[in-house]
C-alpha cells in the first residue's frame, strides 16, 4: 500500500533533493525499508544500530508522533502522510 513520505532538508542530499516520495509498506518499519531501497543509506539516518528510531529523529503519521502509536510497528494505511522531522536541540556542551 502506497504512502507519501516528507523528507526533511538534511536528508535530501540522499534523495536527489526530492522533498517527497511515495513508497509501499504496511508498517512504518516496512516503509523505512522501502525508502532505503529507493535511496540507499537513508535508513541509517533514521534508525540507530539496534534498528530503533534515533533519538533526534521524530516521525509522524498524519500528524501523530509515532512514539504515541507503535513506533516502527505502526500499521500504515493507503494515503497516509508520513513526516520525518529532525528534532532540534541547542548546542549544549560546545
Amino acid at each position: 500500500m502506497s504512502v507519501t513520505v516528507r523528507i526533511p532538508t538534511p536528508l535530501r542530499r540522499l534523495t536527489n533533493d526530492q522533498d517527497k516520495t511515495t513508497v509501499d509498506g504496511d508498517t512504518l518499519g516496512e516503509v523505512v525499508e522501502a525508502i532505503n531501497v529507493q535511496f540507499p543509506g537513508i535508513k541509517d539516518r533514521i534508525c540507530d544500530e539496534s534498528g530503533d528510531l534515533r533519538n533526534f529523529v521524530n516521525v509522524y503519521i498524519n500528524g501523530e508522533d509515532v512514539r504515541f502509536l507503535n513506533g516502527l510497528d505502526t500499521v500504515t494505511n493507503p494515503d497516509d502522510e508520513i513526516s520525518i522531522v529532525p528534532a532540534v536541540a541547542g548546542g549544549y556542551g560546545n
Binding site: 522531522v85 536541540a89 541547542g90 549544549y92
Partner: protein, 365 residues
C-alpha cells in the same frame, strides 16, 4: 545582558539590545522563612522588556538573523517566546510570524499581537505547532528562532547564569531551581555558570541544578525518576501552559545536567501551581505566571524533602510575569462592594469581617 558579549555569539555593537537582562536578584527572607531556608534568592526575570526571560535568547537570535539577512523572524511558542519575537522583530524592522496553540492565555496572545506579528493559532498542542513550524522552516526562508536558529537562540539563556554569579558577588549558588519546558534553560544556566568557572571569574561551580514541572506535563521528571536516558513524550494537560511541551527538545541534555550536578527533577501537583503563584506574591511582592508557580511549589518540595538545606545558597528562577496568565487567579476578584457613603463602607466592611483592619499594629515579618 550585553555586558557579557564576550561569551555570546554576537558582539555588543551588533546586538539588537532592548534593555534585556540584569534583572533583580532579590533576597527572599519571607518566603525563605516559610520553607525553612535562610539563604533564598529570587532571580526575577519577569521584568524584561517583554516580561519573560525569552528576551535573552531572542536578543541574540534577532541580532544573528539580521546578520544572515533574514526578512522574517518566526517561532512556535507557548506564549512568552512569541512576545519576545514580535517585539524584537518590530524593533529590527523584520516581518514576524508566530505559531501558538489556540487555547493559549489571552494575555500572551495580546502580549505578542501588539507588536504587529502575523498570528497563527494552531488547532493543536505546542508540540504540533512546533512540528508544523519545523516542516515549514525546511522550505521557507524564515529565521525560526527556536528551530533553525536554535544554536544561537540557546546561547542567550546563559546570561542568566552569568548574572546570578555576578550578583552574588562572583560565586555560584549551591542550588538553582529552574522551570522546565524544552529543558534548554536548565542546561544553559548551568553552562553559564561553568563558563564563569572556566575563565576564573568564579570558583568551579558545584551547583545542584534542579528542575521543576507540573504533574500534568512532566516528561523530564518522569524520565529522571525512572532513570531513562531519553525522555518519552507525553500529551500535556496542565494549567502551566508556558511549560506545556510534551516532547522537550533538550530533555535528554537536561537529564545529563541533572545527573552531572546531583540535581533533582520534581513535579508539583496542578493545584500547587496557583498556590505557588499566590505564595510568591504574598510573601515577596512578585507576581509571576504559572511557570513561576511551578518553581515555587517545586522549591517547597525540595526544601521539605531535605534536598535543599537551611543554610544553602539557593536561587529560584522566576522567568515570566503574572499579568500574562491572569485567568488562573481570577477568583481573587472578590472586592468589598460599597457605595461612596461613610456608613455604607463601615457596614460593608463589618459584614465581611474586616473589623480587625480598623487599627491593627504593624507586624514586621
Amino acid at each position: 545582558m550585553w555586558r557579557y558579549d564576550a561569551f555570546l555569539p554576537v558582539r555588543k555593537e551588533d546586538a539588537l539590545d532592548m534593555g534585556t537582562g540584569l534583572t533583580p536578584l532579590l533576597k527572599a527572607d519571607n518566603l525563605g522563612k516559610l520553607f525553612g531556608l535562610d539563604n533564598l534568592w529570587i532571580k526575577n526575570d519577569s521584568v524584561n522588556p517583554t516580561f519573560s526571560f525569552k528576551d535573552r535568547p531572542v536578543s541574540v537570535t534577532t541580532s544573528k538573523a539580521l546578520e544572515f539577512e533574514f526578512g522574517v523572524l518566526a517561532c512556535p511558542s507557548t506564549g512568552n517566546l512569541m512576545g519576545a519575537v514580535a517585539a524584537h522583530g518590530a524593533k529590527a524592522g523584520m516581518r514576524t510570524l508566530v505559531f501558538y496553540p489556540s487555547d493559549l492565555e489571552k494575555g500572551k496572545i495580546i502580549g505578542a499581537a501588539i507588536y504587529g506579528p502575523t498570528l497563527i493559532a494552531v488547532d493543536g498542542t505546542y508540540d504540533q505547532a512546533n512540528r508544523l513550524a519545523s516542516e515549514l522552516a525546511d522550505n521557507y526562508r524564515w529565521a525560526v528562532v527556536n528551530i533553525n536558529m536554535r544554536a544561537f537562540y540557546a546561547e542567550g539563556s546563559k546570561s542568566l547564569g552569568y548574572e546570578v554569579a555576578e550578583q552574588l558577588g562572583w560565586r555560584a549558588p549551591d542550588h538553582c531551581v529552574v522551570p522546565a519546558a524544552s529543558g534548554e534553560l536548565h542546561t544553559k544556566i548551568w553552562k553559564g555558570l561553568q563558563e564563569m568557572g572556566n575563565v576564573g571569574l568564579i570558583e568551579a561551580p558545584k551547583t545542584e541544578m534542579h528542575l521543576t514541572q507540573a504533574e500534568g506535563n512532566a516528561p523530564i521528571v518522569q524520565a529522571f525518576e525512572n532513570d531513562w536516558k531519553a525522555v518519552k513524550p507525553v500529551k500535556p494537560n496542565t494549567i502551566a501552559k508556558s511549560l506545556a511541551i510534551g516532547d522537550p527538545a533538550s530533555g535528554m541534555f537536561a537529564l545529563e545536567v541533572l545527573r552531572e550536578t546531583g540535581g533533582t527533577a520534581v513535579a508539583c501537583l496542578e493545584e500547587e501551581v496557583v498556590e505557588g503563584i499566590k505564595l510568591l506574591a504574598e510573601t515577596e511582592g512578585i507576581f509571576t505566571e504559572t511557570a513561576g508557580g511551578v518553581v515555587i511549589s517545586g522549591l517547597r518540595r525540595l526544601a521539605e524533602s531535605g534536598k535543599i538545606k537551611r543554610d544553602e545558597l539557593t536561587v529560584a528562577f522566576i522567568t515570566g510575569n503574572g499579568l500574562k496568565t491572569q485567568e488562573v487567579v481570577e477568583d481573587l476578584i472578590d472586592p468589598v462592594e460599597t457605595s461612596p457613603d461613610y456608613d455604607d463602607f463601615e457596614k460593608a466592611m463589618n459584614e465581611r469581617g474586616y473589623q480587625d483592619l480598623a487599627n491593627p499594629e504593624l507586624k514586621v515579618p
